[in-house]
């Protein structure tokens, strides 16, 4: 049960990653690899500030802003300097690896001894659910774990809600149109370049927020923690689209959260069944590969069938 609640909680925290990837990859149609660097940047900034005794909310916000700046930088490289979006992301991601080491001063910052949002949730949990924790479906779950789960749920729901409202404002609608048909929105007077920079800042801000929360949940930030995160985010987005059909904005956002949680559960189950953790990234990459080509293959297959009949 602890494993399960843990998987749920990580899934909800990394839902911020999948929401960020949703913004860059689905709404803007840009494969933005900055994610790998910005999730670590969010974790690094948050962790180092927490380790210096900063208020965890401030520390988390600072991490998010740092991620947004990194995303904006990728956007500037892509729009103002006309560098291919993929390459712009790779450049910023690579640069961020050094930046993250500089920020942390070493490759790993432990947070066990420091006050974080995690410790706050733990304390609150003990106050509300008692020292014993709760019995859920016959299993004992620690009060801290429940509080962390509820906290992660509240944050991802709040972020998805704010995104939903934002993408229905004048600015948000225009940003969606930028990904859908840049020629059209330019002819309607929107500055496409600014929108892309804003969009990548938003995306990476969310991802860095996810990184900051993840560091506080797992109790450390690590320079290596971002590797392959973009693929995990993509996997979550794709699972989410399969779950909801992804027809409307609201469903797409909910799908990204559900996708992230389900993906974490699948990973937890696979590891439980004896999957070598070293193989995890290979399997995730294969999964995303299949999910990307499957719609095309299905279409081909369906088109061929009537001809054969």
């Amino acid at each position: 049960m602890t494993l399960l609640v843990g998987a749920f909680t990580i899934g909800l925290i990394l839902a911020l990653l999948s929401l960020g990837v949703l913004v860059s990859f689905r709404i803007f149609g840009l494969p933005d690899i900055t994610a790998d660097g910005s999730i670590t940047l969010g974790a690094a900034v948050t962790a180092i500030l927490c380790a210096h005794g900063t208020n965890p909310v401030l520390a988390t916000t600072a991490g998010m802003i740092a991620g947004a700046l990194a995303g904006a930088l990728t956007g500037v490289l892509h729009t103002k300097f006309k560098i291919n979006a993929l390459l712009a992301g790779i450049l910023v991601m690579t640069a961020l690896y050094s930046v993250n080491l500089r920020v942390m001063g070493r490759s790993n910052v432990p947070l066990m001894q420091h006050t974080t949002l995690g410790t706050w949730a733990d304390n609150l949990g003990h106050r509300f659910f008692g020292e014993e924790g709760l019995i859920i479906l016959g299993w004992r779950v620690g009060a801290g774990e429940i509080a962390l789960f509820l906290g992660a749920f509240a944050i991802s729901a709040l972020v998805a809600g704010v995104l939903f409202l934002f993408f229905r404002t004048h600015l948000g609608t225009a940003m969606r149109a930028t990904g859908d048909n840049p020629q059209m929105i330019r002819a309607l007077g929107a500055n496409v370049e600014t929108h892309i920079i804003l969009g990548l800042a938003l995306s990476n801000g969310l991802i860095a927020l996810g990184g900051g929360l993840l560091a506080q949940y797992q109790g450390f930030a690590d320079a290596q923690m971002g590797i392959g995160m973009i693929v995990w985010g993509l996997a979550s987005v794709i699972i989410g689209e399969a779950l909801t059909g992804g027809r409307s904005l609201g469903l797409t956002l909910i799908g990204a959260i559900m996708g992230s949680v389900l993906f974490r559960l699948l990973v937890a189950v696979a590891l439980r069944w004896g999957l070598n953790p070293n193989d995890l990234k290979l399997i995730t990459a294969l999964f995303v590969f299949l999910a990307l080509i499957l719609p095309g293959l299905l279409k081909k297959f369906r088109r061929r069938q009537p001809a054969a009949a």
């Binding site: 229905r168 969606r176 859908d180 059209m184």
Partner: protein
């Protein structure tokens, strides 16, 4: 009023792909004038429209619109003054967004976009009425994605979107060329109605002789990146499709000769 002075543009200069698209276009278009632009392929008519819209910057020349010198304005900034309909019906609308959302975007053309709710109620009522007047049954499908509509429907909606906030200048770039004849006629009828109702200053590129004679109060014919003929008022009204075909044949004969030979022969014999 739109004033074009000495527009020049060469694409890919000093390469084998060099194209002298505009070679000194001077044109003044009065407010409320509906100008048809004709010309053969490569004559520079679409380039002229794109130059005005700001798709690229000029090598030389000056563009003034409604009292502003817009020569150095970026494309999106000129959109404050200009409404556009493209040749490709897919270009003017965002396919994965709803009809209502597309119009919400058009309703803020050239205005700052803040955090107000895009689908405000005060937009929806007039929008429903206006779309109902198309008699395409789209007023009950405002929440449907525009990508699910036909090319003709999308082009009609693009036209309404371009003229939703009365633009200082409406640019129509062969906007019926990709449609079947029936939808094309519908869109032309709608264009006439919108232009007449709001007295919109309009530049319309077309390949159709029939549209060229029946529409507009002025016709210019482009050739090799410059204005070759300019008919207005009574002269424009007298034009028949046959006259235009004669003009085209004349242009085609000139086309057989290269530019320098043509000017030499003209100097000698005309």
């Amino acid at each position: 009023m739109l004033t074009l002075t000495g527009l020049r543009k060469t694409f890919n200069p000093d390469t084998v792909n060099e194209v002298r698209a505009l070679q000194g276009v001077d044109l003044t278009i009065d407010d409320g004038s509906f100008v048809i632009v004709l010309g053969m392929n490569g004559s520079g008519k679409s380039t002229l429209l794109n130059a005005v819209a700001g798709t690229f910057y000029l090598d030389e020349g000056r563009i003034e619109l409604a009292g502003h010198d817009v020569t150095r304005w970026a494309e999106h900034r000129r959109a404050q003054l200009i409404g556009r309909v493209f040749q490709n019906p897919f270009s003017g609308t965002a396919p994965n967004m709803s009809i209502a959302e597309n119009f919400a975007l058009a309703a803020r053309r050239g205005k700052p976009r803040g955090l107000g709710f895009a689908l405000a109620t005060d937009l929806m009522a007039p929008l429903r009425d206006r779309i109902a007047s198309l008699k395409m049954g789209l007023e009950n499908r405002l929440d449907n994605a525009i990508g699910s509509l036909s090319g003709g429907q999308r082009q009609a909606l693009t036209l309404l979107m371009a003229s939703w906030l009365k633009p200082e200048l409406l640019l129509l770039d062969e906007h019926t060329a990709a449609l079947d004849p029936k939808s094309g006629d519908q869109v032309i009828a709608l264009s006439e109605e919108v232009i007449k109702r709001d007295r919109l200053t309009t530049l319309m590129v077309t390949h159709s002789m029939q549209q060229a004679v029946s529409l507009g109060d002025r016709l210019i014919m482009m050739h090799r990146g410059a204005v070759l003929h300019d008919f207005r008022g009574a002269e424009k009204k007298r034009l028949r499709a046959d006259d235009l075909i004669d003009l085209f044949n004349e242009v085609r004969r000139r086309e057989l000769l290269d530019e320098s030979a043509a000017s030499m022969l003209q100097a000698l014999y005309v």
